[in-house]
């Protein structure tokens, strides 16, 4: 084992690891009542959920996201303007922060035409605007989730601080499962932040009553764009 020290490391690594290794000298006693399962010869089992219809990824995504209390708009690209206009009207949006993703440009043009003040996200701008708009880097059909990488989105706050989060989801980016999404991640070059967003912020901390929008967005609007 190589032990390197640099300015980012502190504490007694050698003692720490020696303590862990000390316990491994002997195997734990066998549990005869509930024996340990054997090695996974076929690898890690796949999680297969009845919430996914493999023949209809877009339908599964829309259904599951709707069940999470997201508002889902399944449209083609020519309907983007009308859809955004409806969202802006319904929530009374006057300002928005947007990501740096190139495929967000048509939405930015539409928002400006609607009279919405549009800025790039930052902690300061996201904290005072009423809507954040980004594209999705990926989406998960089984859970109705959208995935965002900080290096493509440009940051984290657009989907976090404003009360409304609007995400444009190209239908082609919808994968069946979380495992499918993670399978293409490159472990040694992950962005500083990847977030998988599964519905609006919620809490059940008071009497287990589900309340939306505790710290993150109260409303999540998903515009699923299908190429016709």
């Amino acid at each position: 084992m190589t032990v390197t020290r640099n300015s980012l490391e502190s504490g007694d690594r050698a003692s720490f690891l020696a303590r862990l290794a000390g316990g491994l000298v002997e195997s734990p006693p066998l549990n005869l009542a509930h024996p340990l399962p054997g090695p996974l010869d076929d690898g890690i089992p796949t999680v297969v959920s009845s919430r996914l219809d493999p023949s209809d990824l877009v339908g599964s995504f829309c259904r599951n996201a709707t069940e999470l209390a997201c508002t889902v708009h399944r449209v083609n690209s020519s309907q983007l303007g009308d859809t955004l206009a409806e969202i802006v009207r319904r929530h009374g949006i006057t300002s928005a922060v947007v990501s740096i993703q190139p495929d967000i440009d048509p939405a930015v043009s539409v928002l400006r035409e609607l009279g919405v003040t549009v800025e790039h996200m930052s902690k300061a701008t996201s904290a005072v605007t009423s809507m954040g708009v980004t594209s999705a880097d990926a989406a998960i059909a089984t859970t109705g989730s959208v995935v965002q990488h900080s290096h493509t989105v440009g940051g984290r706050t657009a989907s976090l601080l404003p009360p409304v989060f609007c995400c444009i989801v190209p239908a082609a980016c919808i994968a069946p499962t979380l495992a499918d999404v993670m399978a293409i991640w490159t472990p040694v070059s992950m962005p500083s932040n990847t977030v998988i967003i599964t519905g609006p912020s919620r809490s059940g901390d008071i009497e287990s009553v589900i309340v939306r929008g505790v710290h993150g967005p109260v409303a999540v609007e998903l515009i699923v764009i299908e190429v016709t």
Binding site: L8, L17, L20, G22, P28, V47, S150, R156, D205
Partner: protein, 468 residues
């Protein structure tokens, strides 16, 4: 000031008696436990062969723990390659000292905290407050109990012991003069959002826990529903993540399995609202995010469990499912356990992690050994076996007086002459049984039990007199 745990100086009996006499607590528990347990069953029923997934999860956790020095080193190396600071904390004092030093060096005055059980375990809030920092818990439940001066009563729902009226009374002093809060969960959560948002935007330092750490990427993974973990790890300039050394997984394929199991087991969700994979601090081309990321890897007694019969307790992924199905927890709630972790996993971890507090040993008795906990556990920790092991260990340490009493009994009943004498003695002492409940030392035992009354004449006496 942060609340103190009640373990030291109280007995399990005293704490459970207090809980069972609290009708509001029992109503709150009944309401929440049914929802949690039902949600888990429904969510697990929607995946194919959930048993195979749980069994695989147990095996994977075993393999990780069996190779922990390598896996945790790999994680640390990769995390540092990503630009994160890594601190190896042998114990609570070590971890708290490092975190306080970072806070001082960065000039922090206000700390926003995401929910972290390991931070509770090491008593971090006390140390930060003693160093002059203001600590604001930001998980809604944690904020409520921090204001109330309570300790968490459930691993994932820290304020589960309170009803909406109690929560309203706790939050009311935080409202501006003239503003009256309503006992409505939505209104109360909306109030918390506004109040805590101010704290997030002002705070210099964010501290969170860590649900999983991925060795192959050096990422920490934070799972939450509210967004406070995202805010605490995004808004302040510095983010510190505190993790028990056993939080490690090797790769994303393993992470996928645990994420699927955790959300379903905890709240019946198919995935939690926010799964944050944090891999180093903000990069130069990003518009927001923290400039510094510190990861504090905490041992604090964990290494002592490796290789022992209790090693599987380290497999816990902190979902709370065992609490929700436990017939003891469901009656008494989390405070009766007296320490950080409650329910069956708490009854196991407390005697192990808080062994220096002698009151912790009796926690192993806070179980019926029914095994519902293992059936619910997403990583199949054989909790009832671990509890039995702890009881055996405790029995081995039992008082000499008890051992002497059993030896005397074995000798007396081992020979016919002394056996008969003892039976006669018992019959003679029949009238004394009424006194049992009056004796202070015995009343504790006789409360809630009917004292057995020996027959006036023993079977042997009747047989010898030809009456049978």
């Amino acid at each position: 000031m942060s609340a103190e745990f009640t373990l030291a100086g109280t007995t399990l009996r005293e704490r459970t008696a207090q809980a069972t006499n609290d009708e509001r607590l029992r109503e709150s528990l009944e309401r929440a436990m049914g929802r949690f347990a039902g949600g888990r069953v429904e969510a697990m029923s929607q995946v194919d062969d959930a048993e195979a997934l749980r069994s695989a999860a147990r095996r994977i956790r075993h393999e990780i723990l069996s190779d922990l020095p390598r896996v945790v080193s790999k994680f640390a190396e990769q995390a540092m390659a990503n630009g994160a600071h890594v601190h190896w904390a042998l114990d609570a004092t070590d971890a708290n000292r490092y975190i306080t030093d970072v806070a001082k060096r960065t000039g922090a005055r206000t700390v926003v905290k995401g929910k972290s059980m390991v931070a509770e375990e090491i008593g971090l809030n006390h140390v930060l407050e003693a160093a002059g920092l203001t600590v604001v818990e930001t998980d809604l439940g944690e904020w409520i109990i921090q204001l109330a001066g309570h300790t968490p009563s459930h691993i994932i729902a820290p304020a589960v012991h309170l009803d909406r009226h109690q929560v309203r009374d706790i939050l009311q002093p935080q409202a501006d003069p003239g503003v009256t809060l309503e006992p409505d969960p939505e209104a109360l959560a909306g109030f918390a959002r506004v109040k805590l948002r101010e704290a997030f935007l002002q705070a210099d330092l964010g501290i969170t826990g860590c649900n999983f750490a991925v060795a192959e990427s050096g990422s920490i993974v934070l799972i939450e529903n509210e967004g406070n973990g995202r805010l605490a790890s995004t808004a302040p300039r510095v983010h510190i993540a505190v993790m028990g050394t056993e939080r490690i997984v090797e790769n994303f394929a393993q992470l996928d399995l645990f994420l699927n199991l955790l959300a379903r087991s905890a709240t019946g969700q198919h995935l939690s609202v926010y799964t944050n994979v944090i891999t180093g601090p903000r990069r130069p081309d990003e518009l927001d995010g923290p400039e510094e990321l510190h990861i504090v890897i905490v041992d604090n007694g964990r290494s002592e469990l490796i290789g022992t019969e209790f090693a599987e307790a380290l497999n816990c992924i902190r979902c709370g499912a065992c609490l929700n199905v436990c017939p003891v927890y469901r009656q008494v709630g989390g405070h009766a356990y007296g320490w950080v972790y409650s329910g069956p996993i708490g009854a196991v971890l407390t005697p192990l992690f808080a062994a220096e507090q002698e009151e912790s040993a009796e926690l192993a008795n806070a179980s019926t050994l029914c095994g519902a906990c293992m059936d619910a556990c997403p990583v199949q920790i054989p909790l009832q076996d671990l509890l039995l092991g702890l009881r055996r260990r405790k029995a081995a340490d039992a008082a000499k007086a008890e051992k002497a009493a059993w030896r005397a009994w074995a000798q007396a009943w081992g020979r016919p002459v002394t056996y008969r004498a003892s039976m006669k003695g018992m019959a003679a002492g029949r009238r004394l049984t009424r006194l049992v409940s009056a004796l202070p030392g015995l009343r504790r035992w006789s409360d809630g039990r009917d004292v057995l009354k020996p027959a006036a004449r023993s079977f042997t006496d009747c047989w010898e007199a030809g009456e049978l």
